[in-house]
Every structure is written in C-alpha cells, then in structure tokens.
C-alpha cells in the first residue's frame, strides 16, 4: 500500500523525452469502413446543410457542408456521405460532423494543382490540412504578424509528432517556409527545436534556429517566446497579438507537400501511446475513427480506461472511440483503469508545491481559493489568472489532488463568456 512512498525522492523536474536518434517511418493505419470529417462550425438548422445522404465524394475532394458559410473539409476518402450531424466538444466548442461510408475503390479528385503561393489560395485549400495551419492569424486586422515560429517541439509530454516531422520531412518544411514567406510577407521565420538536437541541423530554410529546453513546460508557445525571444507576452494577450504566429512543423510540411504534389495532404502523423507507455509514431488519414487505430495496434480498451487525445498534461479525455483523427490530433494516449489518477474535493493545505513549479510565477495556492469559490474576476485581478499558460503542472504536483487546471480553464472560459456578453451589449 505504501509502495516505498517514504523512501522515494521528492518531485524533481520532468523532462520531455527525445525521439530516438533514427526515427522509424510512420506505420500506416487504414480505416475499416467509415470516416468522419469535422468542420469547426455550429450546425444550427437542417436547412443549412448543403449535402445530402448518398452524395458521392472522392479522395481529395473539397466538401462544403453549409449553404451559408464558406467552411469546408477536404475528403480523405472515397465513398458516400451517410450523415451530417452536429457534435459538441470541450468548453462550448461546436463541430459539424460529416460521416462517409467508404467505397471499395479509391478515386482521386482533382486537387488544387499548381497554385500561386498566395494567402487566398492557402486559405482556400489548406486550412484543415494535417497540423492545422492557423492561416486565420494573418487575416485579422487587429494585429500584424512579424515572426513565424515553426514548432519542431511538442508542447506536451510523450508527444513526439512534431519532433518526428522536423527530423524526417525537412525538405517539405523548407518548401513550406518559402511558400509561407511568399504568401504572407512575413520575413522572419524561426524554427524551434529541442536543445539537444540543435547541433544536428544543417541548412534550413528558416532565418534562425531556437533551442528549447528539455524541462516541461519549456515548449509551451508563450514560454518559447519568453525564453528564446526574451519577450514577455502581457497577461491576457495571445502570441499573435504580439506578432508571433506559431505553426506546427507538420502544418508547414503539409503546405510544402501540397505545393509539391498539387494535392492536399490528408495523412496525419500521430504519436500513439499504449497502456504500458510504449510509444509508436503512426500515420492515419484524417477522419479515421480512433477505434480503428487502436484495433490496428491491438490495443484493447474497456470500462474504466481513459482515452486521451493529446498528451498527459494538457490533452482531453474523450468518451467515444469513434471520434475521428483530426488535423490537430497529435497524440492518442490510452490509460488502463489501474493507472487512472483521480481528483478529490480535499481542501488546499497550502503546501506550496504548485507555487514552486509554476513556470509563470502565479500564486496558485491563493488563486485556487478564489476559483473554488467561483470568484473568477477577483482571481484574475488579484492573483494573475491571465498569466497562466495552461501547462497543468500545478495539478500534476497537487498534494491534495485538487483539479486546479480544471478550475483555471473553467474560470478563463467563464470570463471570456462574460467579456463576450459585455461586448455584445455595449
């Protein structure tokens, strides 16, 4: 019961794992019969749907599900549409899901072909490409982007997707950087890589390489800007508001590949971690149900297990194995029922561990007292809620197992709703 808890050393820093020196090529997973494409738009009325059941789609075809909005998805499979339905995600996110039944033979649709590298063309075709290129950052009039950061690091632990891409697809990344420079006019491009790998990089298409330390959570975008660029993002501001756009290495590689081949890529690279912590880099088409990925790797799941999209610190647990792989699904983590750690309603004992580990020096012990009481505005005003970078480290070390990170996310969500309501009433 005590399992040598009394002789174990006290918590030390936790480190990101480096990918093995020579990465294996991704193991490919194919869908068993259906694919589901998600469009991040709310489906309110049936009359908005521009598609109907039985419509045939081809691989690489652009699907526009709405009559009144330009949002689209690129089909990763050939088949017929079986349903279009609304779907909800965490913290008020809404999706429209397009289910496709696979046909026996694959037909490739005509892709964008040889495009001019312009922002309009990129937005027209690549907004949902693997890695989810955040092209919208360049379209907002509120801020100008002066630096583009290509993240060859993964912000969460265990996840190795972007590390893998930066080691294996440098050619596509360089091409992608050239295209992005031409399309957006941003002149300064920086690649962020793990510190231990900096030496191994030869010529890159970027203007600069920045090293990211190996202690969690150094690969968090705001902390990369703080450490590598020496610039503090003011509390409550986002990276893009300060002129930094973060692209994952995979997003940039997707752009490069699209221009090389004239087809929008749809193979997503995913780090799959099984119940024993064994890590595999796999690739699967966007839209493949997670259940198919698990089945292909003989990972059994059952009641009481936890299925996580993303890493162990900041990912999100899902309840449905039929959830598809999305453009930003960097990792799938399966936890056996025995390894599931739970939270409690025990009060804060003020041990101070959270304050010690917080990378942004937030007084978490005081903040959590306000958040527990629902006093979100006081928490933000007095104890720096807005400085938090959402790394989850405080919950990881909490002796009382308080769901601190959940309180923080909830508080930020509630405050953003409040701000939105005030703005619309003004």
């Amino acid at each position: 019961m005590m399992n040598n808890a009394f002789s174990r050393p006290a918590t030390a820093a936790i480190h990101y794992e480096l990918l093995h020196k020579t990465p294996l090529g991704p193991q490919h997973v194919t869908s068993s019969g259906t694919a589901t494409l998600l469009v991040e738009e709310k489906l309110e009325r049936q009359s908005q749907i521009a598609l109907k059941s039985g419509d045939a789609v081809q691989t690489g075809q652009k699907i526009t599900p709405f009559t009144d909005r330009p949002a689209y998805a690129i089909s990763s499979v050939t088949g017929t549409i079986s349903s279009v339905r609304p779907m909800s995600g965490d913290f008020g996110k809404n999706y429209t899901a397009i289910d496709i039944a696979l046909a026996a033979a694959e037909v490739m649709a005509e892709g964008p072909g040889g495009m001019e590298p312009t922002l309009a063309n990129l937005t027209e075709w690549l907004a949902g490409a693997p890695g989810n290129p955040p092209l919208h950052l360049f379209q907002s009039g509120d801020h100008t982007i002066h630096t583009l950061v290509v993240a060859g690091v993964d912000a969460d632990l265990l996840v190795a997707t972007n590390q893998f891409i930066i080691k294996s697809e440098m050619h596509a990344i360089n091409r992608g950087i050239d295209i992005l420079k031409a399309a957006t006019g941003v002149s300064h491009v920086v690649i962020a890589v793990p510190r231990d790998l900096v030496q191994g990089f030869g010529h890159t298409g970027a203007d600069e390489l920045k090293a990211v330390a190996s202690e969690y959570p150094a690969a968090n975008p705001k902390l990369i800007i703080y450490e590598a660029f020496g610039q503090e993002i003011p509390a409550g501001k986002s990276c893009e508001e300060m002129g930094f756009a973060f692209f994952s290495a995979e997003a940039v590689a997707s752009i490069g590949k699209a221009f090389d081949s004239g087809q929008v890529p749809f193979e997503k690279t995913v780090t799959l971690v099984d119940k024993n912590g064994h890590k595999t880099i796999i690739s699967a088409r966007i839209g493949t149900p997670i259940a198919d990925v698990l089945a292909a790797h003989q990972i059994q799941t059952g009641d009481g297990d936890r299925l996580i999209v993303g890493g162990p610190m900041t990912g999100s647990a899902i309840f449905d194995e039929q959830r598809p792989i999305q453009a930003d699904t960097d990792a799938i983590l399966v936890q056996g029922a025995a390894d599931v750690s739970l939270v409690s309603d025990y009060p804060c004992i003020n041990c101070g561990e959270c304050v010690r580990v917080c990378p942004t020096r937030v007084q978490v012990n005081m903040l959590v007292r306000f958040l527990e009481a629902g006093q979100y505005e006081d928490g933000a005003e007095l104890y720096d809620l807005d400085s938090c970078v959402d790394c989850g480290f405080c919950s990881f070390v909490c002796v009382a197992h308080i769901p601190i990170f959940q309180y923080i996310r909830l508080a930020k969500y509630e405050l953003s709703r409040l701000t939105a309501a005030e703005a619309s009433n003004a």
Binding site: M2, P312, I349, V355, S387
Partner: protein, 319 residues
Amino acid sequence: MRSEKMFIVSHAPFWHNGSNVAERHYGMLLAAMPAVALGIVQYGLPAVAVVAMSISTAIFWEWLMNRVTKRTITVTDGNAALLGLLFAMLIPATTPWWVVITGTFVMMILGKHIFGGIGGNPFHPVVVSLMILTVSWGAFFDFNGALVNYSFSFNALYPLGLAKNFGTAAVADFTPGNLLLGRQIGGIGTTFGLGLIGGGAYLMAKRYIRWEIAVSFLSAIFLTALIFHLAAPDQYAGPMFHLLTGYTLVGAFFLLPEDSSSPVNFLPMLIYGAGAGVMTMLIRNIGNYHDGVLLAVLLMNLVNPLLDKIRPKALGKVA
C-alpha cells in the same frame, strides 16, 4: 442497454506525481519517531500514556467534528494523529490525563476546526493549545516541577531555566554532545537533538516541510545567540546551547513550517523563519519566559499573510 465502453472522462492533467496528503502526514509521524522513542526510554510508561492519550483523543475530536459538521471523515489522512503526537512531544511525561484531553480538545476544535479544518488554520493548532494551557495551568508545564520525581544520570534541571537565572556557568555541563544525545529534561519529544535533526533532514529531503523556513530559523537563532553571547559571555549562553535546548529543534522542523500557517514564497519564508529565530532569542534572553519558541511561532503565524504578499511578478503582469 448500452453497447459502448464506459471510459473515464476527466479534465487534464492525466498524470499525477503520486504525492498525497496522508503520505505527507505519515512521513512527518515517522520523522518524529526517534525523538519520541528516546522520550519513552527516558520517562517510561507515563510518557507512553501521555502519547497514547494525546493521539487517541486528537483523533476522537477530529472524528467528532467531522460528524458534527457533516463532512467526510478525515481521520485517515493522519493529520489528527500528527497533531496529537506533536502535542504529546511538547509536554512533560507527567501531565495529568485531563490536561491532555483538554489540550487536544482546544487544539482540534479551537486550533483547527473552527477555521474550517485542515488548510484553514491561521496558527499552528498545537501551539495555540499549549499557549492557552500554559496560561491556564502553568504549573503542569514547568519541567523542573513536573519531572521532580525522576532521577537521571545527568543534571535534571531545565537548562533554559538555569541559563536564564544563573548565567552561562550554570549550564557548563550541557555540552553540545550531551544535548544531542538527549541528556537534558524537557518535553517527551523535544530533548533528543540528534533524533530531531535526523527527522528534520528527512522532512526537508522529502519536501514535506519547506527547508527555507527551518534553515533560516536555526540560522537566526545561532546568529542572535552568538551576538548576545559575545556581548556578555557570562550572562548569555552560547549559540550551540540555544540551538539544542528547549523547543528550538522541534519548532524548526515541526511547528514553524506547518503548511497552512506559513508562507510559500522564497523571501517571505526566509523572513518568517528569521523573524521567529530573532524573537525566540529576544524572549529567552531579555523576556520573561524561559523558552520563546511558542510565542515566536504564534507571532510569525500572525504576520504570515502579510509576508506572503511579497511575491514575484507573474509572467506578463502589466503594472
């Protein structure tokens, strides 16, 4: 009818470093064991009776308050047992049973539960209780009087009392070596210097207590005592004597760094520990009491919320 698997869905993070409150408290109990063991060897069965009575009644009050306030029963988290043990460590082995019961009552109810239970107490519950009892029935806590029927192979007069009334020469027998081996009278668990230092080192290594507080407290005691000693060597005993007598060590490792009543930021922890150290020496050398640790702890507990306002600027904080 359900065909799907029931996964556990919760918010991130999905990992935890494995620490928990009960482990922390049982670790502190473990760290106190050497000192208590020597006390039991020295004082025999009466010490066993006091320790057992104190721990069991503390647990009983905790259980009762949980029932009365209709909360989860938190007896198993080890906090009540820890407080009970600490209370017993500070008092003489001859303390009557009804004083022990009253003491644990005051400790658990007035010290802890009226503030909302664990994590809410502004003062160390044990110190609150012992101060109230000292003011009410001081005679029971006068070590010379309480332990008068014991015969020891060493000088059986309370060292801090001797030093205060008769100066440095009177405590010449209490060499650091003797004090480390517990050759002095005092509370059940306060005399064994080596045992307390060992327990304290374990607590600091495991981060069950914050080392900054203990280290700054002991350093401040050392420096302040040294200054007094250098100013008047005959009147004021040396720093090693003050480090190893009275409640100094138990205060440094078990009373002062109590989680809820101490600060968590670096600079405040240093000020908190050092402030308590200086206060202790002022009370011992020029105040009215023999030992000043309990009052110093209470005083620093009082300023703790103010001290913890000294905090580093959060990342990106504007003005």
